[in-house]
Assembly symmetry: D2
Homo-oligomer: 371 residues x 4
């Protein structure tokens, strides 16, 4: 239980329950467990799989380990719920938890449809609870640094962003590669630009599982000014996480795989033609300059993210990656999904088609092959 | 003049005229000049710009240097014409030369419209002359090696190709980045797959010159089986020429910028799910394996290309990158241009729209901003 | 207690005590703790520093945490002792533990002088206990792979090895950079070549702490055939761990910092001149060939190492990096130290001077500046 | 002929003769030929090998091509002689040319012995002619940039330099790898530090040709303050030219093989312990900071070098890499050679032993195997 700080009373410890101890859950458990000195207790873990439950018991002998997430949600001793289950179950679990008055952290993407995401946002508002999405890259030092560089104006206007997020596997069975990997790019790009795309288009192909695209090429239009292209793939010989940001003054490359130089700022650019009488009569001034790799402090982004969730609960703040941010990402994913199913046709984010698609793979599988 | 080899007579020397001594022409001149011992004489150069004409005279004191390409074309002492002018003039020069009975080599792209390219192909056939396009990458050792690897079956079926061809500048004033850089990717991919795309889509944006896209994201569909994505840009901090080829058995990365390891073959792959009762019930077998960088002999591709042109003239062969190959590339460019102008709508290669667009930038500039 | 397997009796659990919970001890503790299912119990930790003792208690609430390593050594419930203290205390602790009948694992280097190392080896033999040194790289998949490649003859005769092991910090206060970093290179190279150097020479310089070299350039002569050069430094802008191995048939580069391609085999070489009449009359045949990066399975070397210690105790085997291997490394370090103090003079490994030096920095500091 | 500029008279064209058209000579010929607009004429080439003479005639149809360098030296129409022959002939040719009143440019190293180099320096002084050595790296933009950075104090005191210059082949038959490759490192390091080593030591080994070391590990002591280590090898799978410079304030890496980032400045360092009571009682402050890759303009160093030679002739300046600079490099090579032959013993540069060795391989081969 949390005591309002404005009353000057001391605060209780914050008690967290974790639902889902599969691929990502153990990481969240470990990080939450390390927040003990911050007044946080991971008191219970819910997991359907028996083997994983046994592992959870071994790692967290002091916490309850249960099968059903709903039991955990209705535990009155729990203040906040962290959900790390397949996306198909996000809505039910998060909605139930919010209804039960819990603060909720959901792994990305927030939900499988726009309607679900909207409902969660309004439910959180109505119940006055914190709703946060696990857009973990927004909590990295690299992305924070790039955000500051952009806001300082050093790069000038952002003209173009190209992102490449590919590797071999790990195939998801419940979502396609768009819903699996692109939430990272969408959350980073939306965060950096401080807005969301106006329209998107996407082309992809399914090679391993019929109907489940494992390679997607995505275009994001931010008005007429800025274009972003994102390629996500589960079928690539190398692990690449690389974002190139073209500003009107400088350019920046963010290589998340590099251990020592994640961000490099290129003092390169081009000055437009200016006034000229006849075509062919001018020269562009290319500016080539120094390259700077700034020293970035190492922080564990997952730790930053979890601490931010706790802070938002305590201070009743809207999280950096709050429900609305999660909704924006789901809206772009839905538009991209609609485009995928229409051979790459451009879809605006307010197109009704975005309300007809879902990130759940079982729906995708029924009756049509994704393009 | 060429004497039919089947008659057993000796062959004359082959006399070449070069039209265009701007950006690329000097390279062709240098290479042609080195073919002297192969019985080739570069006898004349035509160039409109006085300064460049002076440079040509200095470098090739023994050849004629004239202003007008047409004069050169009508020179009876010349057997073959090499055209390295802006794309807008390719058709007129090449058609005139073919009509005059010359063999013709044209820099890429072959022409600015599908109709022009088709006319050149049929004209060459009618006049029984060699028509070749400067798809120079088809003459590199790296692409030849990759072609052999694909044909050997070592990669399995080709599922996906991703190409990135970006750098800062050099802006062209007569064409956009699609017509400038993508001919390389299209010619390489068509050559490797032995076919042409069935449909394409493209999204781009113009930042430096209004109406002239300097960044384009292109999708190429080869039937339902194979997808290729190509990003070309004049606005990037790094020079990148990288193609990733995903086969069903192995994967390959072709990095043309690397001096020592242009090709790397990854023994990585994935085996599909096979038969299974219930969804979620299976495991994919990811295969991780060795990486091999084959030793490639160094050959100058431009020299290979010019020698191939000469061989085709002498042996009356259809060149590897003959007129039909050039037409295929122009058709894909035209479809991509039509898609660019329609927000990335998918355009099939036989769509009548492909006959309404041109690679000439002046047409593009009139009345519409490219998307 | 261990029951002889040959008697067919079941074996007891093996009880381990760890002395030293400073920089490296926590890693050993974590790994030993994970060996529980292998029948190993980490039952006690000794550490002089109060803060570190507190941390040890937090991480291992079920084990005893004491101040004095000697108490732990004399604990009759303990079968084996793992020593991760500064090198100056290795001998006293290890000797006491062997005398007490414990099996002993000591972090590298085994001891600070040749005499100490020799005494430990003979003590272990006399007491019939396992004595093992923490030459951790011998337990990496990369070094194991290289060992197999060399033994297969694929590289031919080993002509030359060059190793570079540099980074910024972490400065040790009790030893110089030679005794800190070079044990890794010496243990790897001795292991790969299956022998030890016949003579060494070393040049270095102290920049941060007077008399404590932080950069050392070391030559190792293995007979007249094979030379190895090793540069170790605490004063470098990049972290580099790179070993180049030149064989008469092939060459190999081992880059321990690379996450994906630690080993690369170059099919490059040179064929000697053979017979020729006059000097200048011959051509060497340089062989350039493919490069192969073998796929290496990921294993935690520290886990492999600890498991090997356990296996050796149970099976009464001499460890791969047993006392004799540790003695060889200390002997080479002592010869290099003697050379360092003599401006790089070549010192054979049986030179009496090797018995007059010590790896302890306090001795080094007294009365002379290391060269 | 050159007219003294102080007399205000116009200057004649400068007429150059080139001796040696083997491996390096053609590069010098090409560059000298391009200096025509600077008033320089390459009027004659001497080369003993008939095939190479034929090539020279083809490339320079307007110049004389002769067999014997002496003929060229005694040609009164020639003002300056450029010598690109094997090192064994440097002295005779250069001395004869200086005696004949020619200005002389000699490829590195200046001569095969200290005595020869000294004689050339004093001869040039006596005859008042320009004597310059082809230390080409001193004319690169990268080395010039590093020189400016060091002189600005940005790096602080230079503590250590490590250089690696290795590749597979090209084996020289007249000199060992020390005399072939290390002149580059010595000239660069001497130039950067503005001084020469006080003592050196070197260890090497011969694998391909008996008695001709193909791998050498060299230490250069610049007083007690600065150490440099240099590894040169003809037996390495990769071409590496990398110099790491450790300053007391910043560190720098110079990678000559990189096409885009030859120099990188690391804002990294370490602050010493300062005052402290007891040993072990202090912490070093490691400073980690940004990395900057400065933009370097591209210049052809060989062109810069030849132009500098011309300028020095015209302005009667001592060249940057003049005879004295060449002598310093030969002196260090001789000391290193003496050390090589004495198992790496430290040799001071004024040691009489430096006068007993030669870079000529035939002397090396007689009677002893290099170490």
């Amino acid at each position: 239980m949390i005591i309002d700080l404005t009353n000057g009373t001391v605060e209780d410890r914050l008690r967290i329950g974790l639902i889902g101890y599969g691929y990502w859950g153990p990481n969240l458990a470990r990080v939450l467990d390390h927040l003990r000195s911050d007044g946080v207790d991971l008191v219970a873990i819910a997991e359907r799989d028996a083997t994983q439950r046994m592992r959870a018991s071994e790692m967290f002998p002091t916490g309850d380990v249960v099968t059903d997430g709903t039991d955990l949600i209705h535990d009155e001793g729990i203040d906040a719920v962290v959900i790390a289950t397949p996306v198909g179950s996000h809505f039910d679990l998060a909605a139930t938890a919010l209804e039960a008055g819990k603060h909720v952290f959901v792994e990305k993407p927030l939900a499988a449809t726009v309607a679900e995401a909207e409902d969660l946002v309004s439910l959180a508002r109505r119940k006055d609870r914190v709703l946060m999405v696990g857009h973990v890259f927004e909590y990295t030092e690299a992305v924070s640094y790039i955000k500051r560089v952009i806001e300082s104006g050093e790069l000038g206007d952002i003209l173009y962003i190209r992102s490449l997020r590919v590797n071999l596997g790990i195939y998801q069975t419940d979502i396609n590669v768009l819903w699996d990997l692109a939430p990272h790019d969408l959350s980073i790009i939306n965060y950096l630009l401080g807005t969301e795309p106006t329209s998107v288009s996407a082309v992809g192909q399914a090679h391993v599982t019929e109907g489940v695209p494992d390679i997607v090429n995505l275009n994001l239009n931010f008005g007429e000014q800025t274009l972003a292209t994102v390629v996500v793939s589960w079928l690539d010989p190398r692990k690449i996480r690389e974002m190139t940001i073209i500003g009107s003054k400088k350019m920046l490359v963010y290589d998340d795989v590099s251990s020592t130089e994640k961000v490099r700022v290129f003092d390169k650019g081009v000055d437009g033609p200016g006034h000229y009488e006849s075509f062919g009569d001018f020269h562009y001034a290319y500016r080539y300059g120094d390259i700077v790799s700034p020293m970035l402090e190492h922080r564990e982004p997952l730790g930053e993210e979890c601490r931010h969730f706790i802070d938002c609960i305590r201070l009743r703040k809207e999280p950096r990656s709050g429900g609305r941010s999660g909704l924006r990402v789901v809206r772009a994913l839905a538009a991209a999904q609609a485009s995928l199913e229409r051979h790459g046709a451009r879809i605006t984010l307010d197109d009704p088609l975005t309300r007809e698609v879902s990130g759940r793979v079982d729906r995708l599988l029924i009756g049509r092959g994704a393009e």
